[in-house]
């Protein structure tokens, strides 16, 4: 008896589902690459604030007070800077190895972005001892620098 040989099936690559899958994966990775790059964190401790709430005088030594008016106008102990200038000043301070306690304060209408720019300048100089001075309870604005 003669058996008929089965012809072996040739494997083939399905092009259309492959294109579908690759396209969806592409969209997936494109969206997630945006998420991956976005969020960062800057840590801070707020020693002044805890004391401010009980109206006790602060014991933190104030080496530097950064008063933020807006992104283009910040003063450090009276000297005026914009965001990039502030970063350079902070880097210079860090390079001479001086330990500084930095207190950031602002006006009631100072934008959060401007405050974060000041914090960013400190973080870039690896100055981590940063605190914030809250606005006075009723006056609505911080005391401007002398």
């Amino acid at each position: 008896m003669k058996f008929q040989r089965r012809s072996p099936k040739r494997g083939r690559v399905e092009i259309i589902p492959m294109i579908d899958t690759i396209l969806i994966l592409l969209i997936f990775y494109m969206s997630f690459s945006t998420f991956g790059a976005t969020e960062k964190r800057i840590d801070s401790r707020l020693p002044l604030i805890a004391k401010a709430s009980v109206n006790a005088p602060t014991k933190v030594s104030l080496d530097l007070a950064i008063h933020v008016f807006n992104k283009d106008r910040m003063t450090v102990n009276g000297a005026e800077y914009e965001a990039n200038g502030l970063r350079d000043a902070m880097l210079q301070l860090a390079s001479i190895g001086q330990e500084a306690t930095i207190v950031i304060e602002g006006e009631a209408d100072t934008s959060y972005q401007a405050v974060i720019s000041a914090l960013d300048a400190c973080a870039q100089a690896h100055l981590t001892n940063v605190a914030f001075r809250p606005l006075p309870e009723k006056a609505g604005a911080a005391t401007p620098p002398k």
Binding site: D20, T38, R41, D43, I116, A123
Partner: protein
């Protein structure tokens, strides 16, 4: 002359690409649901910064999403800033993970120093001094 009628092609569902697509969509939605779980408000525009470490949430950290003093979101629930300290106190008592609580502030870039100041006063009321500011990386 006799015209030949075209045979009507019967539509059919392609199973394999459908499975591929469904699996990928499943992964996609599972991942996005994790973002939602993490308590992040997607509509917030974070301030830009150059410095900062990679975002990471520790077990004792609570994410605060803040548009302004009257619009603060924690786990998708809306609060005013005055309602935040009692809420934090409540979860601190309920969950031992939060005994040494710290906060992650995801503040909208349009909020003001007055809003930030109100947030800091709320932190002081809750006796929290470890605050992490979330920013968006400048490219």
């Amino acid at each position: 002359m006799k015209l030949k009628r075209r045979r009507i092609k019967r539509g059919r569902i392609e199973i394999i690409p459908m499975i591929d697509t469904i699996v990928i969509l499943l992964i996609f939605y599972m991942t996005f649901s994790r973002f939602a779980e993490a308590g992040k408000e997607a509509g917030l525009k974070l301030p830009d910064s150059r410095a900062g470490d990679e975002f990471k949430q520790l077990p004792n950290q609570v994410i605060i999403n803040m548009y302004n003093q009257d619009e603060v979101y924690i786990d998708k629930q809306k609060y005013t800033i005055d309602e935040v300290p009692p809420f934090l106190e409540h979860i601190r008592e309920k969950d031992p993970r939060y005994a040494k609580m710290s906060l992650i502030l995801r503040g909208n870039r349009d909020m003001t120093y007055a809003d930030l100041s109100a947030f800091m006063k709320a932190c002081a009321k809750s006796k929290i001094i470890d605050i992490t500011f979330t920013t968006s990386e400048i490219k």
